[in-house]
């Protein structure tokens, strides 16, 4: 809304080129096939088509390739067709091995559509690979590392060179190396740099942020309605008609672009102000003469109508959000989350979560809270862990034993090991003595525990502002506003700190708590005026709240951030990716 920001913010490069490139390549691929009749969604059922050639466009997944085998049943019926699979963004040997195994290799030919990057908005680019998270972090499968490297390479060759690259996380490091290798393979032409620095970050560096409830408008819309590829479907409860409507949510939507980064509590007053303005604009036509009316109709009316439509849509969405959130005791839920972040009244939080489970409220929500509890508390006490786990399994089914195994593997939900209680003591002692001593104590204790160090990180980076101060959400003073002033997202704070210092120097203790894997490389040849344009790449997904926080940081410091992510994520998507109950 009334964010002035700094004047010297640079302009973002134009990413529509990426779309054009991808489209042209697809058209070329399809035209190679003669007369592509229709694109089918690949499903577990036969394809009805009179055409004698069928073309599939799929992600390289073994399961999908197997479906094609089923769809291909007409081979048995003695019908001859030609099949072509176009894998995007690339094919995998394992997929082709499946075709060979099925005896279909040759009947089916394959191709690749190197579609890596989908610009969702002026400053958001997605690889649309939600499976990246599970494949990489849970299964430990690095199949997408090169893909990420290639995506980076593509950006680099069109908008680069980058003068500096920072990163943290194992996967970030590997992606960087893969990209570097690809740069060496190709010939690099000197070109005008449109992006200054890049920052790569693994999702597992910060699980807290995506597990928190989102309260910034865009994030809230994503939590409730699920935004897919920058597009959301509003049901009849929003449109107040029997039709649902699909809307693109991006900076083109003039109403949305003004509220997307706002805390939800501000959105209503903004929308009603906007409605009043609109009314005034409409009212202007009273007392107009014919000529004025003509100009009004030809110049303003269309815009006003458009705005009217958008406004009523977003008001509808707000009402629907309010209704849903009051129904589920959102206030109390937020209070619990904030207590966990602060490390305050933990017993109350546990009994809140327990009741949640007992009442069989959302299975995902319960897990989300359990994970938040575990990460912030550096694991659950064995007694609590067993009791909560048992109740969870009783409420939602024993198949979730596998879910628990998955969560444990990622360190999202763990039982405190004996000896780790020392860190609890350390954090208590740390609160009593001053910071310097606490730092020394942390050093002494950190050798004893290896897991999440949220408390220590939170203290070092000042992630949780003091709760006794009033936080004016209308005039945010830091990135904490995206969580009602209760917490500054760790991921964004790291980025802020590194950019401020222009290196990792001085953050050694923090990176140690984050298990290291940080890096920074400078390309001396690349000198550019685009230093203030910063590409941030999230490996494993990022949330809309994080994007809002970075936009805020950009406005404050005169940066422009471009967020590249393997996919947009939120707490539900994150947890759903780890469920093990579907055998």
């Amino acid at each position: 809304m009334a964010h002035s920001g700094r004047r010297d913010s640079p302009e973002l490069p134009d990413f529509s080129l990426l779309k054009r490139l991808a489209r042209d390549q697809l058209i070329y691929l399809l035209e190679q096939q003669h007369e592509v009749d229709k694109l089918y969604k690949v499903e577990y059922k036969p394809i009805i088509s009179t055409s004698d050639q069928v073309c599939f466009l799929i992600r390289p997944r073994i399961q999908t390739v197997k479906w094609i085998y089923v769809a291909n049943a007409d081979k048995a019926a003695g019908k001859f067709r030609r099949y072509k699979i176009i894998f995007t963004p690339q094919k995998f040997y394992a997929c082709e091995a499946v075709l060979e195994e099925q005896g279909l290799f040759g009947d089916v030919t394959t191709d690749e559509w190197a579609f890596y990057l989908l610009p969702l908005d002026d400053d958001i680019i997605s690889l649309e690979l939600p499976e990246f998270f599970r494949d990489n972090f849970l299964a430990g499968d690095q199949r997408w590392v090169r893909t990420v490297g290639s995506a980076l390479h593509l950006l680099h060759s069109i908008y680069g060179p980058f003068s500096k690259i920072y990163g943290i996380g194992r996967c970030a490091k590997m992606a960087y190396e893969s990209w570097k290798e690809q740069v060496e393979e190709g010939d690099t032409k000197a070109r005008q740099a449109e992006i200054g620095n890049a920052f790569l970050i693994d999702r597992d560096v910060d699980y807290i942020t995506p597990l928190c409830s989102q309260v910034v408008y865009e994030g809230l819309v994503d939590d409730i309605f699920r935004i897919k590829c920058g597009c959301v479907e509003f049901g009849h409860d929003v449109t107040s008609s029997d039709k649902s409507v699909k809307v693109m949510l991006n900076s083109q939507d003039k109403v949305f672009s003004e509220i997307r980064n706002e805390h939800f509590s501000n959105v209503f007053s903004f929308l009603s102000q906007k409605a009043r303005n609109l009314q005034t604009a409409y009212d202007k036509r009273r007392g107009m003469d014919i000529k004025q009316m003509k100009t009004f109709v030809s110049e303003e009316l269309k815009g006003l109508k458009q705005e009217h439509r958008l406004l009523s849509l977003h008001i509808g969405a707000c009402e629907s959000i309010m209704k849903k959130k009051t129904k589920q005791d959102f206030q109390e839920l937020l209070k619990t989350e904030h207590s966990l972040l602060e490390g305050f009244e933990i017993r109350e939080c546990i009994s809140f979560i327990e009741e949640h489970i007992n009442r069989q409220v959302s299975m995902i929500e319960s897990l989300r809270l359990l994970c938040l509890l575990s990460i912030t508390e550096n694991g659950l006490l064995p007694k609590d862990f067993r009791a909560l786990k048992a109740q969870y399994l009783q409420s939602y089914g024993v198949d979730h034993l596998l879910t628990f195994a998955n969560l444990r593997q990622l360190g999202l939900l763990v039982e405190q090991q004996p000896g780790e209680t020392l860190t609890v003591m350390e954090s208590k002692v740390g609160k009593l003595v001053n910071d310097k001593t606490a730092g020394k104590l942390t050093d002494a204790f950190s050798s004893l525990a290896k897991k999440s160090h949220f408390r220590a990180l939170s203290r070092k980076l000042n992630l949780v502002p003091k709760s006794d101060e009033e936080y004016d959400l209308r005039v945010p003073r830091d990135m904490a506003y995206i969580f009602s002033g209760a917490y500054i997202p760790l991921s964004c704070k790291l980025i802020e700190q590194v950019l401020e210092r222009d290196s990792w120097t001085g953050l050694e203790e923090v990176t140690k708590l984050l298990n290291g894997h940080e890096f920074a490389f400078t390309d001396l040849r690349a000198k550019s005026d685009a230093q203030r344009i910063i590409l941030v790449m999230f490996l494993g997904g990022c949330t809309f709240s994080e994007i809002s926080a970075l936009r805020f940081l950009g406005r404050e410091r005169g940066y422009k951030f471009i967020v590249v992510t393997t996919a947009i994520t939120n707490s539900s998507r994150l947890i759903e990716a780890l469920l093990g109950n579907k055998v």
Partner: protein, 460 residues
Amino acid sequence: MMKNKPDEEDYWNSSKFKAFTFDDEDDEFSRLKESKQAVNSIRSLVEEEDDEDEVEKVSWSGEPVGSISWSVRETAASNQKTQREHAFPKINASSPSVSRSHSGYSLSSLFKGKTKPGNFQPFTDSLSESSVKLYAPELRKPKSESKDYISDWSPEETIHRMQQGKVVSLERFRSLQDKLLLLDFSVRAHDGNIITAVILFTLTSIIRVLFRELESRQTALRHFIHYLTEIRDHRLLLELLSKRRDFLKSCLNLPFSPEESAHVQDHYTLLERQIIIEHAGKVEIFQKFPRRASILNMPLITTLYYCCFYHYNEPEGTYSSPLNIRHTFRISEKQYFVTVLAARAKLKAWSDLDALFTSRNWLGFTKKKSPLSFHRVVDILQKNSAPTQVLQEYVGLVDDADLRIGLAQKHKCHDIVINTYRDLKDRQLLLGYRGKVERGSAEERKINDLLDSPHIRWKN
């Protein structure tokens, strides 16, 4: 074959081999040495066990090796030549390799891998030799494309070409050592696609040694496991699911941790129970409230809810009685209360709730007690649209005065609000509240009576 021998020596001793060096040499070399040690130890193992036949099968005569490694090359070739595609379906494991000489493939290279023990020595030498040399960056460069045979690519080059989707030949990686070397390079390239491919095309044929080797190669192992998970036969799994009970029974003997096997044991008992419960019950209640789904395979709490709904008053001895379930599965008091509450409230059986919360002390007085705070109870009741009288009773039990009055106002429990204000002797609040009740209602009269009462000393 003989002709190629010097080439091979050349190859191992050439600077090209030394050229694939790394920045973090120590780490990588220890890795390679590890491979080598592992290989050597296996070799001795294999020889000890006198498993000559196995070894033979592993190397070439076995058909799977041929078909799998072929596919890589054919795959790549198919991109270039589409007109040949009709020949592809006919390729199968038994088709002899000679027939594809058109692919620039050399017969000699085919047998290269068969050179047995002697092959190890030069490799070792070159390793130890190179380890003392300086790794000048320019040495890595020459990746000449001018080689005569595609089979001459070094492991590193092979991996590199695979990443670019170019033609490679994996036939030459025949010895376990070579295979593992190739695998280690694929891991170094951080490319899951290639890691899986190397395992698939060169290593599945030696599956028995593979597991042991992968133990020390965590990254590769995880790729293999993920691949196996992905290719699993889903029809078989569905079959398993329908036999879930037997399946679980067999699971009980699996090495679960003690805590987890208790959960699995419970689940087994639950499934047995559900089968009994599924067919039990009186017809009337099912006619009145038809079931929406079968109870089979539902979670425990859902089962308990079901029993609270359809079998509430059954004696504890029956399997479908809620109390029986509570005891069998050691359900906590709170969990039990919440579930009973939800189920009986759904049926609007308010008297059951009354009995549930009432406890009698030793003097015979009754008191309402709940493991769940009463404001939550009110919340659940209200969601099940309990009438005001019922709500009022439970709102009145909320300890905290502020919370109580908030709830009372929200749910229009006028009596509670009025009595609380009276107890607070707050005339102003009472006056204010009069505006909120219906005109001419009993509540309004009650407020008027109180306001007129001479016995109350108002504080304002």
